[in-house]
């Protein structure tokens, strides 16, 4: 028996994958396809759902950044040191200082955090337009997004610059879609989790929080953009205990490239002051908007800074959200049958 025959027999008992396993892989692909196809919530009924607000952009970034973001502990990633630069954002520093003035929520395991928000996102299907939604999400205090519930409705769409709004964009406008299951799967790596149980265990020192934001990342421009993106994941439909929230604001303030935008309008039309960071690769500025008096988090928006890369005129707001309320509930509503 020569070496090639032996090699052919080695581990030959590993079978072709069963249908359930193939289906799991397929679901992740179909979810990505659905997002790419426009991802408007009312369409693509048969594709599995993962509708986490803070995650949509994050997942896309994770795929772009490829190996870096999805790397698992135990892989041969070299140890990268992330010394935290001096914080340079006045807005985030104020937000940290004001954190103690807001009433604190104390959700318990078994309860739900309830987020009500408005969103606007671009749809890049056959036709382009900006779809808008009102949504209310119940997220379990302990456990991943598959235990969550979503209710919502589509609001009238806005045009994408240079594109007429297609008739299909009006389908389902004004009709309640839920309550329904928020997600069929949630396979985020641990350090991207945003459930209360997990974020309560995050560090309360800014330097350690900074390191958390850079988990598995390097020190390049793409890494800084991804770290900023992870801040979004902890601000959007997520609630951190005060100590962690303060640490998050101070750590975010130290991410290189943070600037201040004096007047920024969220998806509900509220004007605030924003901590912003330009992502030169995507050609847009990502802003976290705070109330100019109380420094409570209002929402976020992305503004085009490079027309060629973003395929829209400079100054266009392509994505925005507004967090209308955060509360605690003992139960989530029963979901409608699929």
């Amino acid at each position: 028996m020569n070496e090639m025959t032996q090699l052919e027999r080695f581990r030959a008992e590993v079978p072709q994958p069963g249908p359930a396993r193939v289906r799991r892989h397929e679901e992740r692909l179909l979810a990505a396809i659905a997002r790419d196809a426009g991802g408007a919530p009312e369409r693509g009924r048969r594709t599995p759902r993962l509708r986490l607000l803070g995650l949509a952009a994050g997942l896309a970034a994770a795929v772009t950044a490829g190996v870096v973001v999805v790397a698992r502990p135990g892989a041969e990633a070299p140890q990268i040191i992330h010394p935290m630069p001096v914080a340079a954002s006045e807005v985030l520093e104020r937000a940290a200082e004001h954190a103690s003035r807001a009433p604190e929520l104390h959700p318990e395991p078994g309860q739900f955090l309830v987020f009500e928000s408005r969103t606007m996102n671009p749809s890049y299907g056959t036709d382009r337009y900006l779809y808008r939604t009102w949504r209310k999400v119940w997220l379990p205090v302990r456990g991943d997004a598959t235990g969550g519930v979503i209710d919502g409705e589509n609001l009238p769409p806005e045009p994408f610059p240079g594109w007429p709004v297609p008739a299909e964009a009006y389908e389902g406008v004004g009709r309640r879609s839920g309550p329904e299951k928020l997600a069929d799967f949630d396979d985020r790596v641990e350090y991207l989790r945003s459930d209360y149980d997990y974020v309560s265990r995050l560090p309360t020192e800014p330097q350690k929080m900074y390191e958390h934001l850079y988990t598995e990342l390097g020190n390049g421009p793409r890494d800084d953009a991804e770290a900023w993106n992870r801040v979004r994941g902890l601000l959007t439909e997520a609630y951190l205990p005060r100590a962690q929230r303060v640490a998050l604001f101070r750590a975010a303030a130290a991410i290189p490239g943070v600037t201040t935008v004096r007047h920024a309008v969220d998806a509900a039309g509220r004007t605030g002051i924003a901590a912003a960071r330009t992502d030169p690769v995507a050609g847009r500025r990502d802003e976290f908007i705070f109330d100019p008096k109380t420094y409570l988090y209002l929402g976020e928006r992305s503004v085009v800074t490079d027309a060629a890369k973003a395929e829209a005129p400079v100054g266009t707001v392509l994505t925005s959200s507004a967090q209308l309320s955060v509360s605690v509930a003992d139960h989530a509503p029963a979901v409608k049958g699929d």
């Binding site: 020569n2 070496e3 090639m4 032996q6 090699l7 052919e8 027999r9 080695f10 581990r11 008992e13 590993v14 079978p15 072709q16 994958p17 396993r21 193939v22 799991r24 892989h25 397929e26 992740r28 692909l29 179909l30 990505a32 396809i33 790419d36 196809a37 795929v63 772009t64 490829g66 190996v67 999805v70 790397a71 698992r72 135990g74 892989a75 041969e76 990633a77 056959t126 396979d187």
Partner: protein
Amino acid sequence: MSEESRAEADDASCIERSRRDPEVFAEVFHRHASDITRYVTRRLGEDAADDVVAETFLAAFRQRHGYDLSHPSARPWLYGIATNLMRRHVRTEVRQLRLVERTGVDPVTASFTDRSDERLSAEASRRRLAGALASLPKGHRDALLLFTWAGLSYAEISEALGVRLGTVQSRINRARNRLREELGGINPLATVSEETVCE
């Protein structure tokens, strides 16, 4: 054109259509997912393979605009992406092979095998083979296993790994010699000449 190659000739057109209609990309998955899953599982075990396979098709989907449509079969492209993603699991792969070498226990096949005594006769050479695989430079192991386990031709391996055809030939030759040396104690230098006629 055979039935199989006719089906594969459609990969490029599927990918081209998926640029306008992303859902068509699911067809590329249906054609190749099973084979790629088995290949990656055979190298890394089920857990790590699940990650790599899912990421492979996500990455392929994202990169579909960059696919060279003059290549009718997407197989080399997909195996190339999977090979890149497996890089971060090199330590796992080598550790498992070393475990087979030392103890005969193979974590990769443990969940698929119910009669562990079946291969006892081949036990010694199986352990030496695992040790030899573990000691190969990664690029050589990639080329060798794409050839024997994935069934790629030298030209396809060259496309998948982005290296010249001559490099593929020399990597596979050297890897085979190494294996032969470990398994049979045959002087590798004496057998080099026959290797160039593999294609």
